[in-house]
């Protein structure tokens, strides 16, 4: 067949972040010309559901799979089978263990993200204080990596920040809301909630707004500007950060296409990712796309129109 069929598999459909990524992927497909994009994923963010999706992609003999995984290990056997059948496999956003993919595209550098999320809170806490993390699923690879990195950076760079708890909202708005309430109830001196997930950050900001704690508790983390604008506006949050998911989807398609076209994924290799620039693989065949971008009152209006 003449068209290159690339499947963009996301953690779950309907998530604004991934919809934005899909938009970028479409752009890339249009730019490359001979690419047919299949945008798919489960509705509930589970590994089993993703495996079924991968199985059907294998049966359809697509040329490449670019996946943001719900579990780094559970998908390995299925993806290995895909590779055995000649399908190119890359992971992006949330990675798969190295043996289950040919390369991984990090949205940004793990350590950089870890530092950024703490810095977002610390910047508005000159005298320091208690902060807590509201994460996504306890199994989410990328969130866990960022939290590890954040914990590592606290003692030396932010000694007066006291991380009191890490809780998990499973990227479910209800669970996230409950966990945020729990944090506020359990830690009366809490000064900031850091939610490195677009679902959790909205839930936490809504709770802070509902409980009239604006000004006392600052919500921060990783947020989609379009979903989060109102909370910057009402002061529940001072600033959040995120990379550009459109660029992420765009880059993933470029990388997948490059592999299909015969480029080798090996440590040190450099790939062009169209208008975004280029990336270089490290010794685990991972690459980082760009530094996270910070949104605050000064620029949220503008970006909320884009994604």
């Amino acid at each position: 067949q003449d068209q290159t069929r690339i499947a963009l598999v996301v953690k779950s459909l309907g998530n604004g972040f991934f919809d934005a990524a899909a938009k970028g992927a479409e752009e890339a497909a249009a730019e490359l010309g001979d690419v047919e994009l299949i945008y798919t994923g489960p509705t509930a963010a589970t590994a089993e559901a993703q495996i079924e999706v991968v199985n059907s992609l294998i049966a359809q003999q697509v040329d490449a799979i670019a996946i943001s995984a719900n579990d780094p290990d559970a998908l390995v056997p299925a993806l290995q089978r895909a590779m055995e059948r000649g399908i190119k496999v890359i992971s992006w956003d949330s990675g798969v263990a190295p043996e289950g993919r040919q390369l991984h595209l990090n949205p940004s550098d793990v350590n950089l993200i870890g530092e950024t999320i703490i810095k977002l809170a610390a910047d508005y806490l000159p005298e320091g204080g208690d902060v807590a993390i509201l994460s996504a699923a306890s199994t989410a690879t990328n969130q866990n990596a960022w939290i590890e990195a954040a914990k590592a950076v606290i003692p030396e760079k932010f000694p007066n920040i006291n991380l009191v708890a890490t809780v998990y909202g499973d990227d479910d708005s209800v669970k996230s809301t409950e966990e945020a309430r729990g944090l506020i109830a359990a830690y009366p001196d809490l000064k900031a909630i850091i939610a490195p997930t677009t679902v959790g950050v909205v839930a936490a900001a809504q709770v802070v707004t509902d409980q009239n704690l604006i000004g006392q508790i600052n919500v921060t983390g990783l947020a989609l500007p379009s979903e989060f604008k109102q909370f910057i506006d009402n002061g529940a949050s001072q600033a959040v950060a995120l990379w550009n998911p459109i660029d992420l989807g765009y880059s993933a398609v470029f990388l997948a296409k490059a592999l299909v076209d015969g480029e080798e994924a090996a440590p040190g290799a450099t790939f062009s990712i169209g208008k975004v620039g280029e990336v270089t693989l490290d010794d685990t065949n991972s690459a980082a796309m760009a530094a996270p971008f910070q949104f605050d009152a000064s620029n949220i209006e503008e970006f909320s129109k884009i994604y």
């Binding site: 459909l13 309907g14 708005s173 729990g182 109830a185 604008k229 109102q230």
Partner: protein, 326 residues
Amino acid sequence: MTRLFRNREIWLALAIIAVIVLVTWRFSRFSQPSNLLTILNDTSILMMLALGQMVVILTRSIDLSMASNLALTGMIVAMVNAAFPMIPIPFLIAGCIIVGGALGAFNGILVWKLDIPPIVVTLGTLTIFRGLVFVISGGAWVNAAQMSPDFIQLQRGSLIGLPILTWFAIVVAALFFVLMTRTPMGRSFYAIGVNPTASVYTGINVGRTKFLAFVISGAVSGLCGYLWISRYVIASVEVASGYELTIIAACVIGGVSIAGGIGTVAGALLGALFLGVVNNALPVIGVSPFWQMAISGAAILIAVVLNARGETRKGRIILKKAEVAA
């Protein structure tokens, strides 16, 4: 007095108070009125859903589709609000009740006219309704930014010191109380649960009564669809996914017999409140979130064992001696 203590609602209320006292003992802030009111508010939606489910369970049926109904109605109302923000909220609420009721009526018709077991019907509509959420929304979420301020703020307002959401629960509970104790329809739910064949002899149309029970549970789900979406300000496919079991758990803890015919409004409310208090207490006393699930599972089992103890039918007693002792 002994009769009072045979009453399972009393025991449940005592259990709830015990949990509150225990937690307060370590964290005095827990029993502050404001926190207790917050818990009540947090539990309001579950209370209403439990009441709807109770009516269905009383008739020896079960409605597994309530959470999906809630998600579907919620998505519809969110999309309508996003598209036509000028429609007044009371109209939207009425619309939710009608849509939810219609979805419930679909379950009810299958149970009534085709005589398919309710668990099968609602197992099917559980997946169908949720699938429809995806179909109508195309998988996209409706988020806070797209909803009108009124839509979000209505339930957050307060009236005589209580949030509007709590008032919704209070009004719904009062309506259910009148329905279940003072109307022929309410009594017929009990009757067909206790003895369906005998109900026919008293002129009750068993199928139609079940149908009505499903319409009621559907209407409640619909109402809660709006309340849920405006509370958590996000409408997505996964809204309240798996919540049907929590609703049933609340009923069971509240002493609603899964075999039908037994259950009270107070019981269902307390059952929901019990889950609300426990869920609220865990993070406060610093129990790792990973313990939460196991603890609520154990709570359900303990409640069921205790309820069953109370329910061991003290059939009739023949021996005079034993009668005196009892």
